[in-house]
Amino acid sequence: MEPLNALVSVSNFMLIPALAYGSQLALGALGITLIFSILRFAHFAHGDTMALGTVAVIGGTWFLQAQGISIAPLPTALLAIPFGILVLGLYLLAADRLVYRYYRRVKAKPMIFVMASLGVMFVTNGITRLFLGVGETRFEDGQRFIFTVREFREFTGLAEGLALRSAQAITIVTALVVMVVLFWFLNRTRAGKSMRAYSDNEDLALLSGINPERVVFITWVITAILLVLAGTLYGLDKGFRPFNYFQLLLPMFAAAILGGLGSPLGAIVGAYVVAFAEMGITFAWRRVFSYLAPDGFEPTTMMQLLPVDYKFAVTFAILVIVLLFRPTGIFKGKVL
C-alpha cells in the first residue's frame, strides 16, 4: 500500500491534464453560453473561429521569433495573444456586420442564425486551412517544464514521478484569472450589467435605453478574447490541428448545456465535469491501483473503463444522463 505514490501517479497522468483540458474547455464554453444568452443561438462556428484566432497567434509568434523577441522562460505565443485577439475580434465583428446583423434586424428564427453560423463555420474553416493547412503545428517555446518527472523523483524520493508542464500551469492560471475578471465584469461594471439585463429581458433593456448593438459588440469582443485564449492554451498544451479544434465543438457545447445554457458558472462547472469524466473513464487505472491494492492483489488488466477513442461517447453519455434528469442543466439554465 503506497497511497502517496498512487496520488502522485493519478495527478501526473490524470488530474493535472484534466484540469488543464477542463480550463481550456471552460473558456470555450463560456463563449458559447455568452453568445447564446445575448444573440440567442447556438454558435456552430465556435471551434473554427477558435482555430482562426490561434492561427493569428501562431503567425504573431513566428513574427516575434523572427525578430528575436522572446519572453523566456514563458512561451512567445503569450506575447502574440493581443494580436490574435485583435484579428479575431475584427473577424467576428465583420461576420456579425455581414451576416448576423441582418437576421437580427428581420428577427429571424434561432435556427436561421444557426444555419448562418454553419456558413461562417465553413468559411472560417477554409481560411484557417489556407494559412496553416491541416497538419499539426507546434508553437510552444520557452521552458517546457516547470519541474520534470526526474526532478520530482529526486526531490521527493518517491517511485512515481510528477511533471508539471509550463503550458499546463499557464493554462490553469490564465483560466482562473479570466474567469475572475469575467465575473467581475458581468457583475460589477455598467457594460457587464447591461449585458445581463439584455439577456434577461430584451424589451425592458431597450426601454431602459440599453443599446442592443453595443451589447452585441461587447459580446463578440469578449468571445474573441475567450476564444483566442482557449485556442492558444489548447495549442500550447496539445499542438494546433484545425480538425481537433473543430471537434472541440462537441465537448464545449456539452459543457455549456450540462451547466445550463446561459449560465456562465454552469459553463465552467460543466467544462470540468466533461474534462474529468473524459479523462477518468478513458484512463488506465492499473498503475494507480497497483499502489493501493494489498500485496498479491494487484490488478492484472489495464483497468481502463473505455478506450480513448470513446471519449466523445463519455461526453455524450454524461450529457444524456444529466438532460434526462435535469433538462435545464446543473444550474437551471437561468439566463446569464
Partner: protein, 236 residues
Amino acid sequence: MAEPFLIGEAMTGGYGGADILHDCTIAVEKGQIAVIVGPNGAGKSTAMKAVFGMLKLRQGSVRLNGEEISALTPQARVAKGMGFVPQTNNIFPSMTVEENLEMGAFIRRDEIRGTMEQIYELFPILRDKRWQAAGELSGGQRQQVAVGRALMTQPTVLMLDEPTAGVSPIVMDELFDRIIEIARTGISILMVEQNARQALEIADKGYVLVQGANRYTDTGAALLNDPDVRKSFLGG
C-alpha cells in the same frame, strides 16, 4: 384652457391591419392621476402604448409639455422624461433589486444614489431585499421593483399598464397608496386599470374607453357617481 402636461390627441391607428384606436384622446395634468378604464378589448393598453410610441399612429399627435413628440421612439421618449411600466415582463428577473434599479437609470450619467434612496423610502421592502434576485420576489414586490425601475430616470410622467394585475387586494391598496404618493411629488401618472372602481377612487381624471374611442371622460369622482357608468362598467 391651458394645454395638459401630456396629451395624446385624436389618436387613430393600430398594429398594421385594422385601426384599434378611433379618434381617441388621453391627457394628464401635472402631478395628477389619470386612469383609463373600460371593458376587455376596449383598447386601453393600446391607447397607452400609442402615447408611449409603441404603436404607429395614422392620425393625431402626442405632446409632452407642449412639445410635439409623435415622431419619437419609445427610448427617446424615456429620455424626454416619460417612464413606462409594462404589464408583464417588467423586471430583470435574474438581477438583484438594486441592479434592476441601476438598469432603470441606464441612460443617466449623473449620480443615482439619491434617486435610489428615494425609491427605497417609497418602497421600504425593496431596501430589505436589495441584494435578492428580483425574480425570486412575490408578485406585489415585483411590481414595486418595476415601478421603482421606471422611476429611476426621474420621469415627469409615469405610465403604468395594469400595475395591479394578479396581485391580492391588500397589495393592490398598498400599491395605489404608493402611486398617490408618487403623484404628490409632482409626477403625472397615467395608468390603465382593470379594477375600475378602486382606480377611479384615486383618479383625478378618468377615461372610459369602448372599442378604441372615448365614451365617458370626467373626474374620477364624477364617473363613480354617474349612474350610466356605474351600470355599464362598474357593476351597479
